[in-house]
């Protein structure tokens, strides 16, 4: 899908609207523009700057939110369950162990259909303790019923916030959304960003008017327990809401592009993929490096392209089938690994292609684990291995990218 903006702004015009800020600031500013009623968060590296900026907005009177300095991530998400049920627009952000500590509440928030929005500053899960970026944390939460959007750069991580609220709060969806951005790489980078304004976001995002809230005038019961005769149907309704979200995510992305002139793809986006023989599928901040690398390889005559996963949950099965139908071979680069199997995205993608006539070879590369840098040389290795898999057959379905065999 091409950019849907009414008028594509020239680079110069866009630069005039940009400011060099830290990624966390851009995200906090986007949150501010959505005017959440209640914010609950607990500090964890590398998410801290987001909540520090938000705290400062509250302290300066720029943001009228209740900011709860809670005792844990578990309490943060729990408090938002209460606040959301009381009718508040809610925000949190976390990372890694913090997300793991929220695990139980994640399922609760989605099951209670509470449209909470949370930024996950992606970071590895311990042990060993590691504060650096990978995506094991949010990928581990992929089955929690939350919608998961992954950002390629700071602009997208910030712009995804109002989009996330618009998706989450749709009465047909009512599902919480995680906006995932690579920790440090995006949270701590300074780069030019078009900062959102309250007025612009108010035009984009309607006010939150939930139909049912905790209200003594209309005393509903939230969080009943459901026995086997109802549970399946309640889960099915969640599953249906995710199916509807497939369309909603696209629609909201288009609406955003129309108003703001910025397009990141709907469920997926592509780069040089139309005639690509070798397609890399991935998500998150590594996309930028891959794009530069693709430009290099294209100039050398290699037909390499990229499919970016923007929505990992709901999983864009149809969109991927369509985008990959003419590819000859696919490489998945992902910052997670299922110990005991393979990368989660690799499994998901292979499953999506299994019942199709184009069951092309797919191989996977867990990469960037625990903050291991992903370089252009790494991407070239992926492409070499992938071409070899096409030409001479799959040697191994999965390879840890940049594994230091000298240490083993």
């Amino acid at each position: 899908m091409k950019m849907m903006a009414k008028e594509e702004l020239s680079l110069k015009e866009r630069m005039a609207r940009m400011k060099v800020v830290e990624g966390s600031y851009a995200v906090a500013n986007a949150v501010k523009c959505c005017s959440p009623d209640v914010i609950c968060a607990y500090p964890i590296t590398p998410q801290t700057h987001i909540v520090e900026h938000l705290s400062q907005f509250v302290a300066d009177g720029e943001l009228d939110s209740e900011f709860l300095t809670v005792d844990s991530e578990f309490s943060a998400m729990s408090s938002l369950v209460g606040a959301s049920a009381a009718g508040a627009r809610c925000y949190s952000s976390t990372s890694s162990q913090g997300l793991a500590l929220m695990w139980e509440v994640l399922y609760n928030a989605s099951g209670m259909r509470l449209p909470i929005v949370m930024t996950v500053a992606n970071r590895a899960l311990s042990a060993p303790l590691n504060i650096w970026n990978d995506q094991q944390d949010s990928v581990g939460a992929r089955d929690s019923g939350w919608i998961q959007l992954y950002a390629e750069d700071v602009q997208e991580a910030a712009d995804a916030i109002p989009q996330a609220y618009k998706i989450a709060e749709d009465p047909e969806i009512l599902t919480p959304v995680m906006v995932c951005m690579d920790g440090f790489i995006l949270t701590h980078v300074y780069e030019p960003v078009e900062l959102l304004s309250v007025e612009e976001v108010e035009r984009f995002l309607p006010p939150y008017r939930p139909k049912h809230i905790l209200d003594p005038e209309n005393p509903k019961t939230f969080g009943a327990f459901a026995d086997p005769s109802y549970f399946t149907e309640l889960r099915y309704m969640q599953w249906e809401a995710h199916r509807r979200a497939l369309k909603k995510i696209e629609t909201v992305a288009r609406e955003f592009a129309e108003q703001f002139g910025r397009w990141y793809g709907g469920l997926i986006d592509t780069y040089q993929a139309d005639d690509a023989e070798v397609v890399i599928v991935t998500m998150g901040s590594v996309i930028g490096t891959i794009k530069d690398c693709i430009d290099e390889m294209r100039s050398e005559g290699l037909k390499v392209g990229l499919v970016k996963i923007r929505s990992y949950r709901p999983f864009p099965t149809e969109a991927l089938r369509k985008a990959l139908k003419d590819a000859e071979v696919v490489a998945v680069i992902e910052k997670d690994v299922t110990v005991g199997n393979e990368g989660a995205l690799l499994t998901d993608l292979k499953a999506a292609l299994y019942n199709t006539p184009t069951r092309i070879p797919v191989i996977g590369f867990p990469a960037g684990l625990g903050g291991r840098d992903i370089t252009v040389r790494d991407i070239r290795r992926v492409v070499d291995k992938t071409i070899a898999a096409r030409d001479t057959g799959i040697e191994s379905e999965m390879e840890f990218l940049g594994l230091r065999e000298d240490l083993l």
Partner: protein, 85 residues
């Protein structure tokens, strides 16, 4: 009945569940002895003892026959008797 989003439920809707069937013993009130202290009404776990025309009457649709009312009655005005079914 269609299920509701997020399993929301209506206030007080357990009234469809008639728990009177749980009962073995049934409270029988001797209204002449009753001093209207209302302790039976306060202590009844089912909240099913109501004052009707000045008399304290257990709602047998819900009464589980626990006997708390009889035990707490200061005038022993309530007796638990084996219910004939």
């Amino acid at each position: 009945m269609k299920i509701t989003v997020a399993a929301l439920t209506e206030p007080g809707s357990t009234v469809v569940n008639k728990t009177g069937g749980w009962r073995t013993f049934v409270p029988v009130v001797n209204h002449k002895r009753c001093i209207k202290c209302s302790l039976c009404e306060i202590y009844c776990p089912e909240g099913c003892i109501h004052q009707i025309d000045g008399l304290f009457v257990p709602d047998l649709e819900y009464c589980k026959g626990c006997g708390v009312c009889a035990h707490e009655c200061p005038r022993k005005a309530i007796e638990m008797v084996l219910e004939e079914k």
